[in-house]
Amino acid sequence: MAEKKKRYGMVIDLRKCVGCNACTVSCKIENQVPNGVYRTWVKEIEKGTYPEVTRHRLPRLCNHCDNAPCQAACPVEATYRAEDGSILIDYDRCIGCKYCMAACPFDARFINPIRKTAEKCTFCYHRVEEGLLPACVSTCVGGARVFGDINDPQSLVSKLIGNNPVQVLKPEMNTKPMVFYIGADQDIMGARYNNLEKGEK
């Protein structure tokens, strides 16, 4: 059987996430992400009222979608797919039109205020190339973040996806995300619209 192409993906096991934001910090340091913008961050909500109450966390990053709307939107093809499946940006080619940011259903992209181009998570391409794990994965204290080749049936990500009920963000957008969650609550996975103008009332 011909060997399948590499397709990197991530599983985030929320049962193990403690919301420490070590991933947020290590990503900032590793990728020199400027102040005020984030390649990965941890969303946190509280659901219910005491004593029937729980806290839920959702580490967020680029989904490196199989059907990436940002890649389709880019007018100069600065957003491209690397040979390992991750979606990358050619910073010398990006014109900063921000159309990709409008097109991403996951708010994964931002403008780097220093470089003046679009930017987002790269699955730490520069580390993975050297045989290391992405910074957020290697730093995750609970081992919630697992990274690997989804096309390799022996990889831990493949096994976790195969053996657990998993969720992706906004499957109805048909972007086919490559970041899978175990134990995500529906109230944290998208936006909440019931009281959008709380700040303005």
Binding site: W41, P75, K98, Y99, A102, F106, R192, Y193, L196, E197
Partner: protein
């Protein structure tokens, strides 16, 4: 547990990215497409009574599209790289093929305009004196053949370029609607109606601006310096057209909002925001009330629809309404959160407001200079005969 007992404790803010610059750019291309289509009624569709506005319409289309793309370039984070759009092509990106439409359409329109004015340039180069004579001499580009055969050939080419120009104008503006329509992430934008809504509001605002420009230039710049009864009748006629454009635009808007309101959670939230929320003043009040309803009443009611004052008031209102529409859809569409529980904020960059103001000044200057020096309303009678007419009027 109560189902709405969810509190967001930590999240990252995602401000609106495509702001006023993009909205105003859509406004300009809409004006351009609208005035081009109106000008083609005479030349392409052969409706004789619209012939007198053909040149004015195309001139406006060219002048507006000369400035419109500057908004896009100024909005880039890397404006120096804008030219790479021309050789890095992504056929899946609306912006990519829009670049080529934005290049072809003004070139086509400019040649079309030149053909329509060639006769006046040639005559003017002989009969006029001073600066205009030199200018027209240059603008003939050496093509001074006014024989019947040459004029017939011109006619044929005018028809051809106009026939290419109409779909180009529709595409240029249709694509701007499509830029929004094919973004599945944004509920307010993601509808097949969006290009049609953009086109119809383009027709409304294009008619509005054309009426205003015709009134001002005919009164103060044209050789006759007057709004003759024929001109008045034509403007009343165009105002009638505007009423029908408003009817279609309003209908599309109603259809869009009904399907939006009964659609996805995000779509419903957008509908609530526009109909009952903080955006209702801008949407129902300015965009619909001032921009569509009031001009509709003015152009429908027998007591106001004949008056040039009322017609110009209605035209100003349509412009305000369509600007509001562009802002509502572009900015409002991105304010509906994708991952948060509050509206995404929009931080206006002062730099952008400055650019918009600069471009407005540039646009008005271009329009003034073009209408002043180009034979939009023909060459008129010679200055002597004009003097005579004046004396006659004074004598009376």
């Amino acid at each position: 547990m109560e189902l709405d007992q969810v509190t967001y404790l930590a999240n990252v803010e995602h401000p609106v990215q495509l702001g006023y610059m993009i909205a105003i750019y859509f406004f300009y291309t809409g004006l351009s497409a609208g005035s081009f289509v109106l000008s083609s009624l005479g030349t392409v569709f052969g409706i004789k009574k619209y012939m007198p506005i053909a040149k004015a319409g195309v001139l406006m289309a060219v002048a507006l599209l000369a400035i419109a793309p500057l908004h896009l370039i100024a909005d880039l984070e890397q404006p120096g790289r804008f030219y790479t759009l021309l050789f890095h092509v992504n056929p899946r990106s609306a912006i990519s093929y829009g670049t080529f439409l934005l290049t072809l359409y003004p070139i086509n329109s400019a040649i079309y305009l030149w053909l329509m004015m060639r006769k006046d340039f040639t005559v003017g180069a002989k009969s006029l004196t001073g600066f205009r004579q030199k200018l027209y001499q240059f603008l003939t580009f050496g093509k001074t053949d006014l024989s019947e055969g040459a004029m017939a050939r011109d006619e044929k080419w005018i028809k051809r370029l106009g026939t290419i120009g109409v779909p180009l104008a529709l595409l240029v503006h249709g694509y701007t609607g499509f830029i929004l329509a094919n973004i599945q992430a944004r509920a307010l934008w993601h509808t097949g109606l969006m290009p049609l809504i953009f086109l119809m509001s383009a027709m409304v605002s294009g008619t509005g601006l054309l009426i205003l420009v015709l009134l001002i230039t005919q009164r103060f710049i044209s050789p006759e310096r007057a709004i003759t009864p024929e001109r008045k009748a034509l403007i009343q006629d165009i105002a009638r057209l505007m009423m029908w454009f408003i009817v279609v635009d309003g209908t599309l808007m109603i259809i869009d909002f009904i399907s939006l309101y009964f659609g996805s959670a995000a779509g419903h939230a957008a509908g609530e925001l526009f109909l009952y929320g903080s955006h209702s003043t801008m949407f129902l009040g300015v965009e619909i009330g001032l921009g569509l309803l009031l001009p509709f009443v003015i152009t429908l009611w027998s007591k106001t629809r004949k008056s040039l004052k009322w017609i110009s008031f209605a035209s100003v209102l349509t412009l305000i309404g369509v600007i509001a529409m562009r802002v509502n859809f572009v900015v409002g569409g991105q304010q509906i959160p994708l991952s948060a529980d509050v509206l995404n904020p929009y931080y206006v960059e002062p730099k952008h407001l400055m650019f918009i103001a600069l471009f407005v000044i540039a646009e008005v200057t271009i329009l003034f200079v073009a209408f002043k020096f180009l034979p939009v309303y023909g060459l008129g009678k010679s200055s002597e005969s004009r003097l005579k007419v004046k004396q006659e009027v004074l004598a009376k």
